[in-house]
Symmetry: C2
Subunit: 210 residues, 2 copies
């Protein structure tokens, strides 16, 4: 297929707008097998040299989930106090993670030096390994949203602490922690825009020519 139908293109653009970072989740579980199927789709993401460096750790032990919440709480408080008073109050009013409710949580890592791909494409830019994993997360995000499942990316975490509490290989690079589940609300605009934290910038201001 060379191009998709205009109807599909229109719906795809709607998907991009409805993707959203979700922090408000219903607590009901995902159907058995759904997350594994969605992760299978995520593995169709681009990867440098076809290295497929993504490693998905489904976190299901309650004590580990509790430790992740504690790490978030401490990092979030450290971030809050670094702001001047008015911004700190605005920051404190935001809900920045769905860790208390999301029924499915996934820590995502990169294997920084996989045999797969034989090093192709990453001699000058080894960071493309992490970038490949980011595109797998983004693929998961879109695939999940298309099926009515929300995802929130938690970055307010200390990578070393997350790594320690998950007992994964030391060489793995922590990329992000994902909350997954059915969203309480559906929105076409970012939560940070709705709550007045930041506004969208026109695309033309991000385009330059040389």
């Amino acid at each position: 297929m060379s191009a998709f139908s205009p109807a599909f293109v229109a719906q795809l653009n709607e998907l991009f707008r409805l993707r959203r970072d979700v922090r408000h989740f219903r607590r009901d579980l995902l159907p058995p097998g759904l997350i594994e199927r969605l992760l299978g789709i995520a593995c169709h993401a681009p990867s440098v040299g076809f290295s497929q460096p993504w490693r998905f750790v489904i976190v299901e032990t309650p004590a580990i989930c509790q430790s992740i919440r504690a790490i978030f709480k401490s990092c979030n408080e450290a971030a809050r106090v670094a702001y001047p008073d008015d911004r700190a109050a605005a920051y404190a009013a935001l809900k920045l993670a769905g860790l208390d409710d999301a029924p499915c949580q996934i820590a995502v890592f990169a294997e920084p030096d996989p045999d797969t791909g034989h090093g192709l494409g990453r001699q000058t830019m080894p960071e493309t390994i992490a970038y490949s994993v980011v595109m797998a997360i983004h693929t998961l995000w879109l695939a999940a949203r298309a099926e009515g499942v929300g995802l929130g990316w938690v970055s307010i975490l200390d990578p070393a602490q997350v790594q320690a509490c998950l007992n994964v290989p030391e060489a793995w690079q922590f990329i992000g922690y994902l909350c997954v589940g059915y969203p309480l609300e559906v929105h076409a605009t970012p939560e940070l825009e709705r709550r007045g934290w930041e506004q969208p910038r026109p695309a033309r201001s991000a385009i330059f020519r040389r």
Copy 2:
């Protein structure tokens, strides 16, 4: 809209499979305004703290395109000679960039410390700025492919040399160089798989539980 139709989901999965890294381009130009519209869609990508840190540099000066080709050629040769003999021969046989033919080329950068977003979400993981730009590239990739336009991500480049020849702010972080145009061929499998460089790994081997 809570979930999309099963027909849309099926087509979306087809889009993920047909996305492909394109290195073989037709030379005909894109219609006027198309790339700007696609970049507008890319700006709907997720970004940490709604920071929108992407900076797209459309490279249209022939002398600059020529310099980028020279940087690629030298980095690609350095990568080739680092392989043992048999792999080096296999590497040399691969076409790894469409720089000679792609009618539209874009260097993509991250603004590492934008005012936009007020620093939210990136105190512990500043690399989420680069990750946001990667998701904008991936959004562009999917949106372009849906409209029949191919994209190839060139990572075999020295970032400092690219930065110097484009004369962009020193603080910007080079993320990737994109070749964009109509593809010569359509495939549902990666070129590196078709040419025997690497095979797909089963998703289950990338899933762990804790």
